[in-house]
């Protein structure tokens, strides 16, 4: 646990640099960072979800929950503007999705670099800083040196200084995940979209990475939208939960949403939420996703 407190401390010290001083940041809750109104997405003719209303205020830490194949990643891609809405509308930082990409840090699902990838961790972080620019950087130029300093700062922020110079393919899942979070933070985003960042990490690493994300959210005011398979590692720091199921969504505080009554209504089947003595939640009776998704959506049972 000492490791966790130490990395969290580093984050507090360095996180002030995520935003330059004087950056205009809406502190009022009335400015929604991410807004979906009656939104729907179709993928290859299949309706993934519809009638989704989501409102995420700036600076909130939000979890996107739901069973496999329900369209959690799709929600993040729609917010990025990588997938078009088939109905309804979406607003991200006051703009249509896709126009705000420069201010969004994105961590896609389950990326790991295999051992044959011969690029250092800091090179991967550096791509987040200026990988989108055309042309070659002047090796001694001011911009190049600034980018180099930024990379060092980011690597310290996520507590990866010890291994950032090794080839990324040789690092463990947790180490890679930290470097990828550093990469996502590179351009001082106002929103972080994280797709199952704790997946495939062991308990210790999951707790440490969750603490890091919480610190970034709280101290720098970055809005975090995080797809999670298991809500427990982040439950205590969540402001809001978006629960996707059966083609629709329910959004609210964790205590409102993760209850037997709400989830039973959402799934239209009896579901029980049990709390363990240490405050963790267990959802029982959650239906497995049907093998063929078309069965579910072609039926008239839902929405």
């Amino acid at each position: 646990m000492t490791v966790r407190t130490r990395s969290a401390q580093v984050a507090v010290d360095a996180v002030g640099t995520v935003l330059p001083p004087g950056t205009d940041r809406p502190t009022a809750v009335n400015t929604a960072a991410v807004l979906f109104r009656n939104a729907a997405v179709r993928l290859g003719g299949r309706l993934v979800w519809s009638g989704v209303d989501v409102e995420v205020a700036a600076g909130e830490f939000v979890a996107v929950l739901g069973p496999n194949g329900v369209g959690k990643s799709t929600l993040l891609k729609a917010a990025l503007g990588l997938l078009p809405l088939s109905a309804g509308r979406a607003v991200v930082l006051g703009r249509p999705p896709g126009r705000a990409r420069a201010e969004i840090g994105y961590l896609p699902q389950r990326r790991s670099f295999d051992p044959s990838v011969r690029i250092r961790g800091i090179d991967v972080v550096r791509l987040g800083v200026d990988g989108h620019r055309w042309g070659l950087p002047l090796p001694g130029g001011e911009r190049s040196r600034a980018a180099g300093r930024r990379v060092v700062e980011l690597v310290e922020l996520v507590g990866a200084t010890g291994y950032a110079h090794q080839p990324i393919g040789r690092l463990s899942g947790g180490e890679q995940q930290r470097l990828l979070i550093a990469q996502a933070l590179a351009r001082r985003p106002r929103i972080l979209l994280l797709d199952e960042p704790l997946d495939s990490l062991d308990l210790h690493n999951a707790a440490a990475v969750a603490a890091l994300i919480r610190t970034i959210c709280q101290t720098a005011g970055v809005t975090v939208l995080m797809v999670a398979h298991d809500v427990n590692p982040i439950l205590s720091s969540l402001d809001r939960v978006i629960y996707l199921a059966g083609g629709g969504a329910v959004s609210g505080s964790p205590t409102e949403v993760i209850t037997s009554a709400t989830l039973s209504r959402l799934y239209q089947t009896p579901i029980e939420v049990l709390a363990t003595s240490d405050g963790r939640l267990v959802v029982v009776g959650q239906p497995e996703p049907p093998a063929a998704h078309t069965d579910r959506h072609d039926g008239t049972g839902h929405s």
Partner: protein, 306 residues
């Protein structure tokens, strides 16, 4: 022609005299010029190709040059034009493969289509060679390369294409690296991943056409893959490994040309053998380094436990 050159070429212990003797022949000067241009271009493009794991596409583009060159000779046009026309056409064909259905599905469809294109290209090449009777000696040259008979005009064409390829790579380099390593994030930050992939295939096609003219269509990997693979084994620093790739390419090309000048055996074999030797050395060096590193690490058990 090889025997004619070899007849009055005798290796002495005076290196300066040997080199001067070699460069007295304009065909050798042109061979070195063309070899240098090709090695640099192949190094830069090959580095990205190995990183993107598109070696199979690279090989297919090179093989597409075989029917191109054979067809051009049959029609009485310069082989150079045939190489470029067919390599670029194949690049556009591979680029036209739809990548819908996710990255993995796209890649599987790509390798199957690439294989199909390659088989058809080889078959066409064989047909063109058969149509042009009395050309059989030239098949070896097309497949395994030659450094003889490179004209000033060819050197000029090769240089012009090389400058274009290197300029395009310099402009696209960083986003291309991003899109190669991490397409999902690159796309999310606004990098045009699909357009870059098409652009790179065209660059790869042009480079394959260039390299084929020296190493032959079957031995392009000698300059396109081996130097890049060797450099990427040695260092994970992008700038350094790119520089090493070009350096290795130049070294094996110059060494291959020199040895081929004094020997009756084909140049493709020499360049490939030198490159293969370097690759083996690099693997051995890294293996030895890892073994030493592991011994050092086990002597610090506290670090491993942390």
């Amino acid at each position: 022609m090889i025997t004619a050159a070899a007849a009055d070429a005798a290796l002495s212990w005076n290196l300066v005299r040997d080199v001067r003797q070699m460069f007295a022949y304009s065909f050798m000067v042109n061979a070195f010029r063309a070899g240098t241009v090709v090695a640099v271009t192949a190094g830069a493009t090959g580095w990205f190709m190995v990183l993107r794991r598109q070696t199979f596409a690279g090989h297919t583009l090179a093989v597409a040059g075989f029917p191109g060159a054979a067809g051009a000779i049959w029609l009485g046009v310069g082989a150079t034009y045939g190489y470029f026309a067919f390599c670029l056409a194949a690049a556009l064909l591979i680029a036209a493969i739809p990548t819908a259905g996710g990255a993995t599905a796209g890649r599987a469809a790509e390798s199957a289509t690439v294989g199909t294109v390659q088989a058809f290209a080889l078959a066409c090449g064989f047909l063109f060679v058969s149509l042009y009777k009395g050309f059989l000696g030239g098949v070896n040259t097309l497949l395994f390369g030659s450094f003889l008979g490179i004209t000033d005009g060819m050197v000029l064409t090769l240089t012009a294409v090389a400058v274009a390829v290197l300029a395009v790579l310099a402009v696209l380099g960083r986003p291309l690296l991003f899109a190669s390593l991490d397409p999902a994030v690159a796309a999310a930050t606004g990098v045009p991943v699909r357009a870059l992939s098409v652009a790179f295939l065209i660059v790869l096609g042009s480079t394959a056409a260039e390299v084929s003219q020296i190493t032959g269509t079957l031995l392009v990997f000698t300059l396109l893959v081996i130097p890049a693979a060797t450099a990427q084994i040695l260092t994970p620093r992008p700038a350094l490994s790119l520089a090493l790739t070009v350096l290795f390419g130049l070294l094996v090309t110059w060494a291959g040309l020199t040895v081929a000048y004094y020997s009756p055996y084909p140049i493709g074999f020499f360049i490939t053998s030198f490159a293969f030797g370097l690759y083996l050395l690099a693997r051995l060096a890294v293996h030895a380094h890892d073994l030493l590193g592991r011994t050092a690490r086990t002597s610090h058990p506290a670090e491993a436990a942390a």
